[in-house]
């Protein structure tokens, strides 16, 4: 998550233009999806490791990015193991892990503002009817809302626990959705108040 995981730094990866990083990520992900042999995956892993080293990042940063996806990876591994066997299951998992790590390399070294500027630069050649500023703002807001929604979730969870509701999904989701929508409304007004067209 961009807003949570950005690690300030002055490495060549940090200094690289955001658009270049985003395009490199797209190319890398496409390449990883196209390769169907272990040598290709090994090369991709080497590239990601080199990127982390060049950015001066610790392996624990990569693990932190992978951790939220571990259960999904485990589920995919189990299904693949059942359908195709251990070798292909491991291959698929490694491929997904590399995609996540490559994306996190971009997010760890790019601020939200730079990211949005990169998206805007990428959209520059688009025709006038494409709402470039709105698209960029929407992306920025999604990133801004990640920690907000999480803090609301924590608050609601604590409030429910205090009332003895330990594992009640409805009691958790209803106030979370209501409060998030209210926040979204107020943020939309705040954006309007700050002269955004």
């Amino acid at each position: 998550m961009l807003s949570d995981l950005y690690i300030p730094g002055d490495s060549p990866v940090h200094r690289a233009r955001p658009l270049v990083k985003i395009l490199a990520l797209v190319v890398f992900c496409t390449g990883v999806f196209l390769v169907d042999h272990w040598a290709g995956i090994a090369l991709a892993a080497l590239l990601v490791a080199a990127g982390f080293a060049l950015a001066g990042l610790h392996p624990r940063h990569g693990f932190a990015a992978l951790r939220p996806a571990l259960w999904i990876l485990a589920a995919i591994f189990a299904v693949q193991l059942w359908l195709t066997g251990p070798a292909l299951a491991a291959f698929v998992i490694l491929r997904f892990a590399l995609l996540i790590l490559a994306a996190s390399l971009v997010t760890l070294t790019t601020t939200a503002g730079e990211f949005v500027a990169g998206i805007e630069a990428g959209l520059k050649p688009a025709p006038d009817w494409v709402p470039k500023a709105r698209i960029a703002l929407a992306i920025s807001l999604s990133l801004r809302f990640i920690p907000l929604v999480r803090s609301v979730l924590d608050e609601v969870r604590e409030a429910q626990r205090a009332r003895g509701l330990e594992r009640n999904l409805t009691a958790l989701l209803v106030p979370l959705v209501v409060r998030t929508l209210k926040q979204a409304d107020e943020t939309a007004e705040a954006i309007q108040a700050r002269s955004f067209d």
Binding site: S3, G113, Q183, E186, T187, A190, A193, S195, F196
Partner: protein
Amino acid sequence: MIRFRDVSVEKGGQPILTGIDLSLCERRIGVIGRNGSGKSTLARLFNGLETPTRGSVTVDGQEGGKALRRQVGFVFQNPDNQIVYTIVHEDLEFGLKNLGLGKEEMRARIDTVLGRFQLEHLRDRLTHQLSGGEKQMIALAGVLVMRPRLIVLDEPTTLLDLWNKRRFMAALRDLEQHVVLISHDLDLLNGFDRVLHVQNGRIAADGPPDAVIAGYVAGSQC
């Protein structure tokens, strides 16, 4: 000069404000009233966030639209809902980009405002990691960099502790802009030029703080 001409606001068929007629030219104006009295709706009329069902609101002759919003800055109760970007200086740039300013001008304005409130150390901080007081100061800074003529604040100190409330009010006192402050905290209105008491969608009292607040307090005794 702010002018409300026979302003009424209805929502879902229910009157929220009725027949508001005001001319406001004082530098510091307070608005008080019970929950649900209509004071937040009144505040939102100042910069066009709310459109009157009947009547008109003008600020220096401007009515509604972007031109009005450029003249009137708005600070919300919860800064979390006002901050758009994840890094402080990027959030401060947001309003300035909307004004179409160049990079040098943006930097100069941000430097000035951060310097004025001794907030330079927050420039590169992640916004969601700031304390409540810091967030509200950054929300105010985000409005001030746009150099509005009037600033409307809707209960901006509700979520602040005593220390941050004093700090925020000190910042507010020194502003050269005209200020409209909606607040439940009557102490904050000391030294204000004029106070409006909103009750059931109407202006129940309008005058110097001492008289209006005394009447409001007397009316709320059990």
